[in-house]
């Protein structure tokens, strides 16, 4: 009897302890971010310390240490012993204690969020992939320091970049007027027009066709591909048009739909008209585009697997043994669907075609422009924010960008000779050496575009050499540059909704709920219309109503408000 009683008290005692522990656990959990924001930092009060140099190098006279968050990508051997890390330390006198994550976006985001939420974040984020939402949230909590003053005082290269690239400063300034994080600028010209369509030119020649200009031409070309045995093996194994929803703009819809209406799936299907935001996916042009795609699909001109297969399956079709079987494939570059190793030859048969002109004279191409997420931020744990911003500023200089991206002069690159041409076909400044490591090997010479840097289109297109033989692998950049310049530029809409737009936390939360619903609905409906599961004539009105029900109007209003707010300030 007695032992049972003690047993019961025992149980209740343990339970009480547990509940107490649980409660403590909960409160301390919710206190973490708040606690970290109040932790003293002495921001700017130290004035950089006695041995800080406002200009010139080293940045600090006596060596200081900074913990830095960064991903280590699969082709860097070790950031601690990396040549550029050592060079940077020698130059600036700042020793970086790397806090590494694997160089894969999902892993990086997970770790970053954990560090920020637990209060165990480093002195700087060298490459934090910080979203606009995170910048605003942790900036206003005080975790990320506002950088405006620091940039103004100590960062001439970053200031110059603001002047040279008109949209840069606007894109990274939060609604409260502060800059909390600095991006890695990489103005990749051909990437901005990456919804390209690659067509098998050999087949065109064989069939006596010229590159299609209108949607009708395109239709006839696909029909000829399918029926006239262009690969000459006597079998009807040709796939006129294929694609994949997972690759870099390998989706079939984007290229074709833009002959009917401006369609940019990466920017929420937004289109602008006189400062007013709207969506492409309820326009009459969109309906016509669906009808055209449906016609192609019904006649078997689009690969049945084009809307479902993964990139691997697409490249198997593109790499078919013996003869080519794929006629037209949309892709950011041909490596998405065919072998791009130096010895490969199949890709030489494929050339991009210009955006098609639809029956109503519409001929757009989606324009993918933006700064994206920022990489570099200084936290309130940093005792030397001035030194940190000067470090980022050095990485924004021509020298810093070149060394961090290409490695050591002499070993990894040499000054260009007079005959060396760049992507634009003019004289280049330096030539990247054929590297000894190559495919399958890892390097330890440079950061491989990790961290902040300034690669403006000017830098990318003029600084380093590129072969003028566009069908060689060294001439790849030239090939894509030329195609973009000659075929795609000018087809972007005159008025565009900016991709870099700050939302308030409340707006961001709403978007987080609405966006997946809307995107799923649009994608699903498009497939149903194209594949014929829904009739475009009969079910169109129901589709438009469904679009409203999924919150499209509210979604547009949120972005319209954010846009108006951004423009009012300027």
């Amino acid at each position: 009897m007695g032992s049972k009683r003690t047993g019961r008290t025992w149980v209740s005692a343990v339970l009480i302890v547990f509940i107490a522990m649980f409660a403590i656990g909960c409160t301390s959990n919710s206190e973490v971010p708040a606690g970290s924001s109040t932790s003293p930092s002495g921001t700017g009060s130290t004035g950089g310390g006695a041995d800080f140099n406002a200009t010139g190098f080293p940045i600090v006279k006596n060596k200081i240490e900074m913990s830095a968050f960064a991903p280590q990508s699969a082709n860097i051997a070790d950031l601690n012993t990396n040549w550029f890390t050592k060079y940077l330390e020698g130059k600036t006198n700042i020793h970086l204690n790397w806090q590494l994550v694997p160089g894969e976006t999902a892993a990086l985001n997970e770790k970053k969020q954990l560090l920020l939420a637990s209060g165990d974040y480093p002195d700087i984020f060298m490459q934090g992939n910080l979203t606009k939402e995170e910048q605003l949230l942790y900036g206003q909590q005080g975790v990320l320091l506002p950088l405006n003053k620091l940039i103004d005082q100590y960062a001439p290269n970053i200031k110059q970049a603001f002047k040279d690239i008109p949209y840069l400063e606007k894109a990274i300034t939060a609604p409260d007027g502060n800059i909390y994080a600095i991006p890695s600028v990489n103005e990749c010209y051909h990437c901005q027009f990456s919804a390209k369509m690659w067509v098998n030119t050999k087949w065109l020649q064989k069939l006596g066709l010229s590159a299609p200009k209108t949607t009708d031409d395109f239709y006839n070309m696909l029909k000829a591909f399918k029926e006239k045995d262009p690969n000459g093996n006597g079998k009807a194994d040709e796939i006129a048009l294929t694609g994949s929803p997972t690759g870099w703009h390998t989706d079939v819809e984007s290229f074709i739909m833009n002959a009917f209406v401006y369609y940019n799936a990466d920017n929420n299907y937004f289109m602008m008209n006189g400062g007013k935001l709207g969506t492409s996916v309820d326009q009459p042009g969109f309906k016509k585009g669906l009808q055209f795609l449906n016609k192609l699909y019904a006649e078997g001109l689009i690969d049945k697997e084009a809307f479902t297969q993964k990139s691997d399956a697409l490249s198997q079709k593109g790499n078919s043994p013996d003869v080519a079987i794929a006629g037209a494939i949309p892709a950011g570059w041909f490596g998405e669907f065919t072998d791009a190793s130096p010895t490969a030859t199949r890709h030489k048969d494929y050339d991009p075609i210009a955006p098609l002109t639809g029956p109503d004279g519409i001929s757009f191409t989606p324009h993918y422009i933006g700064i994206g997420n920022s990489v570099f931020a200084v936290t309130n744990k940093n005792k030397n924010p001035e030194a940190a911003i000067r470090l980022a500023d050095y990485l924004y200089s021509d020298e810093g960008t070149t060394l961090s991206n290409f490695g050591e002069e002499g070993r990894n690159w040499v000054k260009a000779e007079a005959t060396d041409k760049n992507t634009r076909g003019t004289a280049a400044k330096f030539k990247v050496k054929e590297t000894s490591y190559g495919v399958g090997q890892v390097q330890n010479d440079h950061w491989n575009q990790m961290g902040p840097g300034l690669r403006s289109s000017e830098y990318r297109e003029t600084a380093y050499t590129a072969s003028q033989d566009i069908y060689s692998m060294d001439g790849l950049e030239t090939r894509l540059y030329k195609a973009t310049k000659e075929l795609y530029e000018g087809h972007q809409p005159k008025e565009e909704f900016p991709t870099d737009i700050f939302l308030t936390n409340e707006q961001a939360n709403q978007v987080k709920q609405l966006k997946p619903i809307i995107t799923d609905y649009v994608k699903q409906s498009m497939l149903q219309f194209i594949m014929g599961a829904k009739s475009i004539d009969k079910d169109w009105d129901a589709y438009v109503k469904g679009l409203k029900d999924s919150g499209m109007d509210q979604f547009i209003q949120i972005y319209q408000d954010a846009y108006d707010k951004m423009n009012k300030k300027k």
């Binding site: 699969a74 590494l100 954990l114 490596g335 190793s341 399958g440 790849l476």
Partner: protein
Amino acid sequence: MIHPEQSLSLEVRKRPSRIHENIVDRLYLCGVYLFLTVCLIIVAYPLIYIVSSSFSSSSAVISGKVWLLPVEPTLRGYKAVFQNPQIVTGYSNSLFYLFFGTLLSVILTITAAYPLSRKSFYGRNVITALFIFTMLFNGGLIPYYLTVKGMGMLDTRWAMIIPGAISVWQVILARTFFQTSIPSELTEAAHLDGCSDFKFLLRIVIPLSKPIIAVLVLMYAIGYWNSYFEALIFLKSAKLYPLQLILRNILILNSIDPTMVKDVKELADRQGLKELLKYSLIIVASAPVLILYPFVQQHFVKGLLIGSLKG
């Protein structure tokens, strides 16, 4: 000594041959074999495909020429795997975590499960309840991280072994096994002969519990070999990374972010790296578990069944 169960199962196996099989039985048997063959092909084909691909040139693999046997045989993939310093360190780290982690886990699990299986152990129900409580509730990621940080284990090898050293599920499995296969009369008899509890555990319980130990070893070993999340959260130095982190890093090509394209040639290089390493890396990374399995497999089914059926 002959295990009574073993001789019994031998007899069971002999029995069908003595009975006359009629046509229906034979047809049925044929059907079963046919079905099993189909199953075998379905299961074995992907494995064979991966092995063949790992020995083929990457251009043959991406053009789909490989379907059963290696095409243009080469060892380049394996050479690249073993030349990659990250993979080599990751591999040795993973083996380290696997060996010491499993050792520690099995010791802890047995020492926790055995007392809990003894009816004479005071308060065992409460303690079991507390164990189970942790199965249902946990503090969440951030408190977990802060606890490990507070114990000074961040960025050390301990972080890979200590926090997940005991799995309550395995403790319950082992406890049930001990309860059903080690009768308390045995304990009493041993005590009468002057055997201490520890000696009893070492000399009698463990030798009698090979099946359950095999199960524990295999399950913990696979767990440690596959552990990815602990490494991601707790480690900051690349030299401590287990193989799984590096595998993911190489095999899952980042979805392409146009703002991050340095030059397209680099994309080609990355794709080449992936194609070259993919299959050989899969083979190399699954080898330890594949090697371990046959050795413990004979005990495996028995150990699992006892744990689950009589639990």
